[in-house]
């Protein structure tokens, strides 16, 4: 089960046309997603994590998009492989919401305010599976029940403004699960929610994943959430992957100085026990995407940089096992810490 790849992303790049010229938002991103696993996609705002997830669904805004490069091989339930980057629009629509679903950051604005939630869930089902509206509504009621919405049958006729943010996100999840997708892409699904509701939604997603065996790509900037839910983690910085690996090695022994900085900027109650200062921010800010430094894009903010770092962009190299890092000094830095 674990060995099967549902998604094989190769050299995915996304370029937008802007008034200041082409902007490469995602650069040569490659990764695989195994059936049933949770892959966390971590990074600051503007790191390209949301664009990556939208590009897999081919939902990046069409107007300023100039180029979608690379390939996204998706293995369907029938075992057939398709490249989502080149798939024709009709076939892509048949994948969206059916085999790959997505939920978004803003539950308050992600549901259509003038349609009943039952209809909003059912329409995807009727479209993809060609069953009657009545049967689809029945399934929608079952889904609402499954995502923990009490009195599900009656809620079918509720409008989004009748529900709280947490409830709306549950509706979004029900909608995403409507056609039993193989992959669920969750773009910061808990960021806009209260902490207690966040925990409930995470718990719900974990349960549903165990029940359905779907793979999840979880986009977040919250490392606490990553530790909670992920099997593997991928860290992005200015459009490229800078480190990826299993959740335990990556979070306990991060190799890339940027990942270390991210982990150190999480407030802790026991910093001394971990040999850390109370709270360390990464100095500076994300580089201007129009004027990326020629070398390592993190070098200007990195306190371990040396002149060679600023000369050429390091490659993503295998450190040990499945742990990859894009840093020419990782070996020496690891030795220095040991």
């Amino acid at each position: 089960m674990k060995s099967e790849n549902v998604l094989e992303v190769e050299n995915l790049s996304v370029t937008f046309a802007t008034e200041r010229g082409p902007l490469q938002a995602v650069r040569d991103v490659s990764f695989t997603l195994h059936a049933g696993e949770t892959l966390a996609l971590v990074g600051e705002s503007g790191s390209g994590k949301s664009v990556t997830s939208l590009a897999i669904m081919r939902l990046t805004p069409p107007a300023p998009l100039v180029a979608l490069g690379g390939s996204v091989l998706f293995t369907g339930a029938d075992g057939g492989k398709r490249d989502l980057v080149t798939l024709d629009p009709d076939a892509m629509r048949a994948v969206r919401g059916n085999e790959i679903s997505m939920i978004f950051q803003e539950p308050m604005t992600s549901l259509n305010p003038v349609h009943r939630i039952g209809d909003q869930i059912a329409e995807a089902i009727t479209f993809h599976e060609h069953i009657s509206a009545r049967a689809a509504l029945d399934r929608a009621a079952g889904l609402l029940d499954k995502v923990g919405i009490p009195d599900a049958r009656r809620r079918l006729s509720a409008y989004p403004h009748h529900l709280s943010g947490g409830m709306r996100q549950r509706v979004m999840i029900a909608m995403a699960l409507a056609c039993n997708p193989r992959v669920l892409i969750a773009d910061e699904p808990t960021t806009a929610l209260d902490v207690t509701v966040q925990a409930q939604i995470l718990e719900l997603m974990k349960e549903l994943q165990q029940a359905t065996g779907m793979a999840v790509i979880f986009v977040t900037h919250n490392l606490g959430v990553v530790a909670e839910i992920a099997d593997r983690v991928m860290v992005m910085y200015s459009g490229a992957i800078v480190e990826k690996g299993g959740v335990v090695p990556l979070m306990t022994r991060p190799l890339m100085p940027y990942t270390q900085g991210l982990l150190h900027s999480v407030p802790r109650l026991d910093p001394e026990a971990l040999g850390l200062s109370p709270l360390e921010a990464i100095p500076g800010s994300v580089p201007d995407p129009f004027r990326l430094p020629p070398g390592c894009t993190f070098a200007p903010r990195c306190r371990h940089r040396e002149p060679a770092c600023e000369a050429a962009l390091p490659t993503l190299e295998a450190a040990n096992g499945n742990h990859d890092v894009r840093c020419r000094r990782w070996r020496r830095l690891a030795e220095a810490r040991a």
Binding site: M57, L59, R93, A94, V95, R96, G97, N98, S101, M102, F104, E106, T109, S110, L111, N112, P113, V114, H115, E123, A124, F127, H128, Y159, H161, M172, M175
Partner: protein, 317 residues
Amino acid sequence: MANFLLGRLLQSLVLLLIVSIIGFAVLHLAPGGPLSQFALVPGLSKEDLARIAHEMGLDRPLPVQYWEWLTRLVGGDWGRSYRDNQPVLAVIAGRLPATLELMGAAILISVFVGIWIGVMGAIRSYSLFDMLATVGAMVALSIPTFWFGLIVIYAFSVNLGWLPPGNRMTVGGDGSFLDYLHHLIAPALVLALVEVAIWSRYMRASMLDVINQDFIRTARAKGLPERTVLWHHALRNALLPMIALAGVEIPTLLGGALVTETVFTWPGMGRLLLDSLGYRDYPVIMGILMFSALLALLGNLLADIFAATADPRIRLT
């Protein structure tokens, strides 16, 4: 809902009262009066005119005249026309169908054509179509209605002979539906032109706003075809602000109808108003004024009620 209607009714009464006071005052502030046209008629002396004015009650203080008019109106008496002594209500009722016909046709054209142009402009924003629509709307808004009406008459009636140059039907004709329709085309298009421009601009902005909303991305993420995303998910939301616009546009349309009816010798309320203004036929002018105000208030009320039924988030209180 009942509270809402009651509140609206009271508001409307106050508004009507204010409209009537201002209308009455402005009307009488203008120099001249119903009798000034007879000033130079031989055989009518100044004394004669003064006597007639006294009999008509025109020499009394303005507030007294207003009070008299108002108390009669409340009693259901709208007065009689100075011109032909017909009851004002009957005069207006005789002209109302023609105006409603013209306005109805113009509303249908402007709503459907305007919305279509607006939606297409939003979906293909900055395309050739969108740019032409934008320029076209600017031109349409800048053209004076009376001038455009004359151009249409010149082109389609005088030169091409396709459309009748005026009137609501062929005089002495069979009065068939097609004859009415034939006469309606030109004035309805002329009256609708400005409205089409307004509607298409508002619709484009509203639709553009909606298609960039998160829930449209959600609809696409569900794999729905673009047609469903636009016409089922986006349009319904984009139309909500248009309902309020419809309520506001009714008085504008009435004002446009006045000009259009005059150009096309259309026997409606607009022309009646213009004729009555020329004669200083105070009772008829006041009657039309009150009627238009009533129509505008009713339009806004209907727009609010309709908006509440179309948008589940709105509650009338």
